[in-house]
Amino acid sequence: MTEPAIEAAALAKRFGRRRDAWALRDCSFRVPAGRVCAVVGPNGAGKSTLLALAAGLLVPTEGTVTVLGTDPAAARPRIGFVDQDKPLYPQLTVAETLRMGADLNPGRWDAGTAHDVVAAGSLDPGKRIRALSGGQRTRVALALALGKRPELLLLDEPMADLDPLARHDLMGVLMGQAAAHGTTIVMSSHVVAELEDSCDHLLLLGGGRVRLAGEIDEVLAAHTRLSAPAGTTLAPHRVVETRTTGRQLSALIRPAGPLPGDWRTCAPSLEELLLSYLRNPEAPSSADTTTEAAA
């Protein structure tokens, strides 16, 4: 069995000394190698902190994170990381930026891929970074990260400032890398719809904790959307969200056993599932279930 791309055990990060300044707490999860993992959560959930910890740019306050079988600092030559702010040198041209990528990654640099990503956006190689639009900068930052031919690609809100066409195009490039090289991709995003077809693994964060983690197919299969007469008791099933309209109750649950035959049930879509969890920050997390199962 191959080692996981990322494995976190009781991972926590606090900024400053205040007791309530925890950005992440007690996060344990595993992203298997070769997956395309979506990191989802509301603003302030800890997504960026988590990615920066995996990239070795932050040091955990508690717990550990293992990346590609070693600590993040040692794995850094094999990791590509694109920060939300896409830091690049504004005074360099596009061509100079790519040359810098080649110089900084001797022995691994894939000039062809980097060049293709930039060329597909019809970017002038002589243009300076400071003169580029936000979306064009994103393209250069992704070219730099992909040129490194990373085994693990960490992307923090990579598509936020791209138009729909460029977004589809770059997502295609990312999927192509995953198909050709088995690259593990972990990306945070707010655009739930675009994740559904591209990602096969999910990490849902809320309030600095892991609320759901696992293969998207399995997570979806563990939940059921149902409608039943108002006043129906849903125990012992775990209720994520419930709403009563007139005589009808609709709910999203994690069944704890067989369901009564007179409930009308159907499978939720990823978007429905995520929205239900995001609307209900207090809903039970899957972490609770695993703890119980282990006990």
Binding site: V36, H168, M171, M175, A178, A179, A180, E196, D197, S198
Partner: protein, 133 residues
């Protein structure tokens, strides 16, 4: 060659869409035995879907004996489906018939209803292949 178009709103699982579109291309003779399917990389670069989704669709087609994966070479069509290539005489007759229906003043919905009714009499309930519902 076949060009997959993924409709996110169709409610049909993405891998099923790829299976269905491949079968459609086989039925219409757009894909023939010996033809190579696009590589997973080509499909995902064009559609931005997860590579495992494409591999799952190809495995399904392989399981049904329609294609075979040759290691290091790609996935190839083994046999075609149905007997109605795009340029068959049957299609020409149907074109003629549709043209006559239009001349007779039938609307698109009338034609569809008529065709479905005849289809149901001649081919009593056999559920469509690959249809998940």
């Amino acid at each position: 060659m076949v060009d997959y178009r993924i409709d996110r709103r169709s409610g049909v699982a993405t891998y099923v869409q790829i299976v269905q579109q491949t079968k459609q291309a086989l039925r219409l003779g757009l894909l023939m035995p010996g033809d190579k399917l696009p590589t997973a990389r080509e499909v995902v670069e064009a559609t931005a879907v997860n590579p495992n989704t494409v591999l799952k669709a190809y495995r399904e087609l392989e399981r049904e004996g329609l294609v075979e994966a040759r290691r290091g070479l790609g996935t190839f069509v083994r046999r075609s489906l149905g007997a109605a290539p795009a340029d068959s005489p049957l299609r020409a007759e149907l074109e003629d018939w549709a043209a006559r229906a239009r001349e007779a003043g039938l609307e698109r919905e009338d034609v569809a209803a008529l065709f479905t009714a005849v289809l149901d009499t001649q081919f009593p309930h056999r559920t469509a292949e690959g249809d998940p519902s």
